[in-house]
């Protein structure tokens, strides 16, 4: 049995190549991801107001659905889903009265009658499973086609790292998890000063000039430091950074698929590369 997996809205539509490559890599490494049988959007932003109980119902339902599988954890690939679900897990543990209200609300809904969340499900990111459950050494031993000579800049963005007190995946200013992954794959990680700088996120919707400027700086910096590609764990970072077509912006799972020789249709560089070629 695999780990319950929450894909989220974007991985089943605009970022299918992230979902496909992630699931294939996980299966190949003997740690399969089982998509939750019934899931809904996590809300895509963590509600920051103190009175956020209504807004937490959506992500809490995901945790409830995960708990229905009797698993102890739920895994995500999308950095935003990870952030929202992880912070929800944290918030509900910290505020038992909020958990009680949400449980009352959900258990009186006819589609989820009787279902409650006890707070035992841990939200993890697939990167964390690779590091903590498999380990970089074991991963490197599974690589059949080392990405030798490929210089890749790991771009972490915001929500995989912050707020550090609730997320705790890696150091918020000097993260290494994706650089370590790239090293395990035989690639050469390229450190650059904008690795944790915001890409502009959903300002793409209301103020597109802001992400355009931020993304330009990030991609130029990576290129100047010698990167031939950038890897990310977030479809929104991928979208914002990809606009300029200066470097290929890849999901880390695509490079994993390449290094594990899972075939071109799985690593599927097509969409990202086409923008670079023109």
């Amino acid at each position: 049995m695999g780990t319950p997996y929450f894909p989220g809205c974007t991985l089943t539509t605009k970022a299918k190549n992230y979902d496909t490559s992630g699931k294939a890599v996980a299966a190949a490494l003997g740690m399969p991801l089982d998509e939750l049988p019934d899931w809904q959007c996590c809300g895509a932003t963590f509600p920051l107001a103190t009175d956020n109980t209504m807004s937490l119902i959506a992500p809490a339902r995901v945790l409830i659905q995960a708990e229905q599988t009797h698993a102890k954890q739920v895994t995500t690939l999308c950095a935003i889903c990870y952030n929202v679900l992880k912070r929800t897990e944290f918030s509900l543990r910290k505020h038992p009265e909020q958990l009680e209200r949400i449980n009352w609300f959900v258990s009186t809904d006819e589609t989820t009658a009787g279902q409650t969340y006890t707070g035992k499900v841990q939200v993890t990111h697939f990167l964390q499973q690779l590091r903590d459950d498999l380990g970089w050494k074991a991963l490197s031993e599974r690589v059949t086609q080392p990405l030798k000579g490929l210089k890749v800049a790991p771009y972490y963005g915001c929500l995989l790292l912050r707020p550090p007190a609730e997320i705790g995946l890696d150091d918020p200013d000097q993260p290494t998890i994706m650089a370590d992954l790239l090293t395990a794959l035989g690639a050469e990680p390229v450190d650059f000063p904008f690795k944790g700088e915001c890409c502009g996120s959903y300002l793409a919707v209301n103020k597109p000039d802001v992400p355009a400027a931020l993304s330009g700086t990030i991609v130029e910096s990576a290129a100047k430091h010698g990167a031939q590609a950038i890897v990310t764990a977030c479809p929104l970072c991928q979208y914002n950074l990809d606009v300029k077509g200066r470097l290929p912006i890849l999901y880390f799972t695509q490079l994993l698929a390449k290094a594990l020789e899972l075939g071109e249709e799985i690593s599927n560089f097509e969409s990202q590369m086409s923008k670079v070629a023109v």
């Binding site: 932003t45 920051l48 103190t50 200013d173 915001c198 919707v205 209301n206 931020l214 929104l236």
Partner: protein, 134 residues
Amino acid sequence: MRIRLSAETVHGDFVKQVEDISGQNLLACNQCGKCSSGCPVAFALDLLPNQIIRMTQLGLEDVLQAQTIWTCASCLTCVSRCPKNVDLPRVMEALRQIAMERGATPMYAAELRPDLVANAPQMAIIGGFRKFTA
């Protein structure tokens, strides 16, 4: 712009409302400026993050007119670095909510660009609407 300060505004309902919604003690901020120096969108702001806090501490409701509250991307860089543990993104959220309660409408669905709807990840549109609509 002339700024009038009074004990009434500093101890007024506006400050209390922001503190209630955000859960933050605004006076914890001692204006070190670390938030503004590290803010990735500072180049696009009309008021810097520390100025937003300062105006809010003083109960100056003009802070709601600042474009900054609609330009903050909640990237959480400031809160990760604040030596006084002030959660500035939560203050921004409180200011957005109050501004929208008072009628501000920063975004309309009908005005979304077709190329954005066609190409942007859903999370951008959902996230944007949850932040910028009442």
